[in-house]
Amino acid sequence: MTIRKRIIIAALIQALLICIICFFAYISFKAVLTKLRTIEVIDDLNISLLEMRKAEKNYFLYKDLGELKELIKLGQERSDLLRSAGGYVAPGLHGWTKKNYEILLGTLNKYLDLARQVVNTRQAPPHLEEELRNLGHELTTFSEMLLRKERENVNVIINQNILRLIGSLAGILLIQLVLWQYFFRFIIQEIGIMERMIKMVSEGRLHEVAGKSISPHNEIEIAIKAISDMARMLEKREEELLQTGKLASLGVLISGVAHELGNPLNNISLIAQTYGSLFDLLGDEDKKTYMGDVYVQSERIKKIVENLLDFSRQKKQELREQQISDIVMRSIGLVGNHLKISKVKHHVSVAENLPPVFVDASQIEQVLINLFINAIQAMPQGGDLFIDVFEEPGNGLVVMKIRDTGTGIKKEVLPFIFDPFFTTKSTKGTGLGLSVSYGIIRQHQGEISVESAEGQGTTFTVKIPSMKKDQGDD
């Protein structure tokens, strides 16, 4: 579901809740209003009743029928008023109110009828008068009781309303919580996923991000997919950059390799010429040896060409268990002739019993060759290249230290040497070598660092986690 839809639905549900609460509040207030009116009517009735009783008392004291007529007149007025107020007084919330109202009205009318009888008979029998007095008393008591009851009712209703209001608010909060669970927690979770992906991209772990393929259902998932696509594109670009960096190294390597080919070619040529010119003098054994030599030399050429081709090929990253010493030796092999031509002596020291590493061998080779070429170029008059491979004690990192005795790197350019397209070799450099190396090592969860002083040579340190470390982590 899209976030837009979720928000609209959540808002609609909340609006509906508020409407329901308003409706109940309206009904409650209306009930209170009715009760208050009822109280008002009964209160008025009470006052009139008191006057009526006063008239009744006067009648009994002075036997003045005028007083009774006054009573009847007042009573009739009240009765009419009560009847007209019945519309809103009667249908109260509490069932007994209607009954009480009818009793009240009935008793009042009965009382008035009795008073009328007394007036009409002129000389009323004492039992009639007694009945009138009792009924008057009953009416007053009932009315007062009613008033008290209604007042209590108002209190009850107001208290109930307060409770109901608090209950409704609690309900809204509860429903908010449910809405949160169903509508917004997903959004937060997805934003969390997005955050982790962005972090991975920034750490260069593009492959993990690019691998995620999702079909987006909402805006955040669309964003997540965009990040994933971006990572895929970046990965592709990085692969291309890797290849470009490799081709740049290859350009430097190739002259060395071409010369390396020169020797076996020369050997074959010499053997062939000797074979031809001394054919009659050579014994069968000699001839056999010569042909064997030709074969060995052609194998040598094949190997050189294969190594070069293998290095230049664009490959998908393939992580495998590798011995770091093999990789180092292969890399030195590829630059071997270049070292010789450049009068650079190499001194390799590889510690024994190194733990295996889980790497893409050709990528690590690319890094090493790049570092070797840089070192050779830093020693135009020749020099020494020290390659030390050892395990850092305690943390399971395999360390390769590549130290040259060359010109060193100027302090002010040192912070930029891993930046893409930064080069100190003007048009001869692409500025890709070290930045690509940096990317490769970071993808292997390793680190690459440099120490250099002008005129005193440069040391590159490459650290890669060994499989021992990985197992330790798990």
């Binding site: 010369h259 020169g262 020797n263 070619l265 020369n266 050997n267 074959i268 040529s269 010499l270 053997i271 010429q273 000797t274 010119s277 001394l278 003098l281 030599d293 030399q297 010789k340 031509i341 009068k343």
Partner: protein, 120 residues
């Protein structure tokens, strides 16, 4: 007495073939794959001709050339190389190189050059 030729090349086959061919021409041939050892040999023994590779570990063909010129100005030096830059060639000419052969070497040309160098 046969004329003495010293051949220095870190490729065994170059040494072997040169020895075979030149001995067949009637010269006395010594070969060294290790240029350092060759340099020491030069200091002990005078050769009539030295054929050396240019690029070698430790001691280069140019070092050999300089040593020969210093010790035996009469001895001629022929240089073989798979790696003939203009700079290296000019430097070699300045050091009085007798002849210069790019690899792969043509044996007939080398034989002729040796003959001319040794005046036979």
């Amino acid at each position: 007495m046969a004329q003495k030729i010293l051949v220095i090349d870190d490729e065994k086959i170059v040494c072997d073939m040169a020895k075979k061919i030149l001995e067949n021409e009637g010269y006395e041939v010594e070969t060294f794959m290790n240029s350092q050892m060759a340099l020491e040999r030069i200091r002990q023994q005078r050769f009539d001709l030295v054929i050396t590779d240019l690029k070698m570990e430790n001691v280069s063909g140019m070092d050999i050339l300089r040593e020969v010129n210093k010790l035996y100005p009469q001895t001629k030096v022929i240089m073989l190389t798979a790696y003939a830059t203009l700079d290296a060639t000019i430097e070699a000419i300045r050091e009085r190189i007798y002849d210069f052969f790019p690899k792969p070497v043509k044996i007939e040309e080398l034989k002729n050059s040796v003959k001319k160098a040794l005046g036979s």
